[in-house]
Amino acid sequence: MNLSTDIWVWVGVFLTFCIYSFLYRDNPFYKFGEHLFVGVSNAFTLSFMVHRIIIPILVRPFTEAWRTAGSEGLSAGLFNPYAPSNFLVIIPGVIGCFYFARFIPGLTWLVRIPIALFMGYYVGRSVPAYLEGSVFPQMRGTMLTQASFDPAQGGILGGIFALLVLVGVIGTLTYFFFSKEHKGVVKWGAQTGIVFVMVGFGASFGFTVMARVSLAIGRFIFILRDALGIVT
């Protein structure tokens, strides 16, 4: 045994036990660990945001532009959005501050402006990217073509897997097709689909178990190796 002399390792061990104590039952130690985690995460994110984003990207360019304008007078360069010091940064800064307008009765409508800009930007960027990067290539990947039987793709076996994917996709879509009663061919399609859906759930469950066990292993390695020095 080679006990760690680092105080922070023992703080980590204590907090690990605080959180795991929930497995026995809810208790004040768990609550302490949970609240500490939420508080520290938020404080860390906020301070990081202020020092790495708000000051260098918003405050510093504006104050430097202000100083330059004071000493040398206004110039077109101070309104160049690509310049390291410029007045234009105040526009997104003010729009961002509109988020806080929800706390001022009578001005709450202002909050719609940043939300609208944010949503507009993301929807405009995301929809074509999603279609181009996910929907179309994945549809293409589902098609059964001669290339599916190409020796480089696994030959006959690759073709059989491609066929299986095609059957699975059509079956699952049929299962979730609710505009027609599940009778006859539709019923067969839906029943095939449910088999694939169940296999999918099983795979997801297996992967989830693996992930949760991995997290527990990480904590036990930390306790046994880093803190207690029992395992090498």
Binding site: S134, A203, A211, S214, I217
Partner: protein, 287 residues
């Protein structure tokens, strides 16, 4: 057999059994043979294909401390692979909470390499062999902007240095100089790189994901949109093994350390599932 009693077993007994299944293989290690999945091998090959003279490896570390046991070994294994091949490594973070973790990983892996180095050429130097670009929100912005200029969206690195003053950044300008982006994450960031960076700039993308996300990414590996993937701690262990087999980089292989416990825990869960089902059907027949 008293099936009813088995079905009413206290959940805390199960937790305790699970803890033992994890702890015992750590205390009494056994070496298990480990197969390497094709997706992990493909990722390894994609990193092998990078031309060190003109390209770099970009590791997008998009994880937080919650998934450290799964994601952290992936980042370290990739750095080891890059350093062993003398491929410049750029590291960025799309989530702020994980940023200091990455700093720790860089220090550890650089330390391992430099402890064995005999000359300046052998050593791993910050600015020449690796740059930690840090964090820049929101994720979509740096992903898109790196297609134009990496130093433009990351003017300062994590440590406050001007990125355009760093040696390696004089030749790495944008995605055209990136051999592959490997996004390590418990979320969907590999898909963001596929949707925003690959479609527009044609950069290769790989994934290192938690096991929970893996089923979402397999279809993208099948279509070739993802060049390869490390799935969960097992994927990280496979990658560690591949790097170790080829380059003997040494250092701590944290994911590999946990594989015996992982197997023991999985066997235990399978036993629980089978026992639970047998007991359920036995009780149903009885009633």
């Amino acid at each position: 057999m008293n099936w009813e009693r088995l079905l009413k077993i206290d959940r805390r007994v199960i937790f305790l059994t699970m803890a033992l299944a994890i702890i015992l293989p750590l205390l009494f290690p056994i070496r298990l043979t480990m197969g390497v999945q094709r997706v992990t091998r493909n990722l390894f090959q994609a990193v092998e294909a990078i031309d060190p003279a003109r390209q770099c490896l970009l590791i997008s570390t998009d994880y937080t401390p919650q998934t450290e046991p799964e994601n952290h070994p992936m980042a370290k294994a990739l750095m080891r692979h890059g350093f062993a091949r003398r491929v410049p490594v750029l590291v960025n973070a799309l989530y702020v909470e994980g940023a200091p973790l990455i700093d720790q990983a860089i220090t550890e892996v650089m330390g391992d390499f430099n402890a064995r180095a005999t000359s300046r050429e052998d050593s791993i130097l910050y600015g020449r062999d690796i740059v930690y670009l840090g964090w820049q929100p929101p994720p979509i912005v740096p992903i898109l902007a790196m297609g134009e200029s990496i130093t433009g969206i990351y003017p300062d690195d994590y440590y406050g240095n001007r990125t355009d003053s760093l040696e390696v950044m004089r030749r790495i300008r944008n995605y055209a100089d990136v051999g592959i982006v490997v996004a390590i994450t418990p979320l969907s960031s590999p898909l963001w790189y596929v949707q925003f960076a690959q479609t527009k700039y044609g950069v290769k993308v790989g994934a290192g994901c938690t096991a929970v996300c893996a089923p979402d990414f397999y279809p993208y590996c099948a279509t070739g949109q993802l060049s390869g993937m490390m799935a969960g701690m097992k994927g990280a262990a496979e990658y560690e093994e591949l790097v170790e087999q080829k380059y003997r980089t040494g250092g701590r292989l944290k994911a590999t350390e946990g594989m015996a416990s992982q197997s023991a825990a999985h066997v235990l869960i399978m036993v629980f599932v089978i026992l639970g089902n047998v007991a359920y059907f036995a009780m149903r027949r009885k009633s």
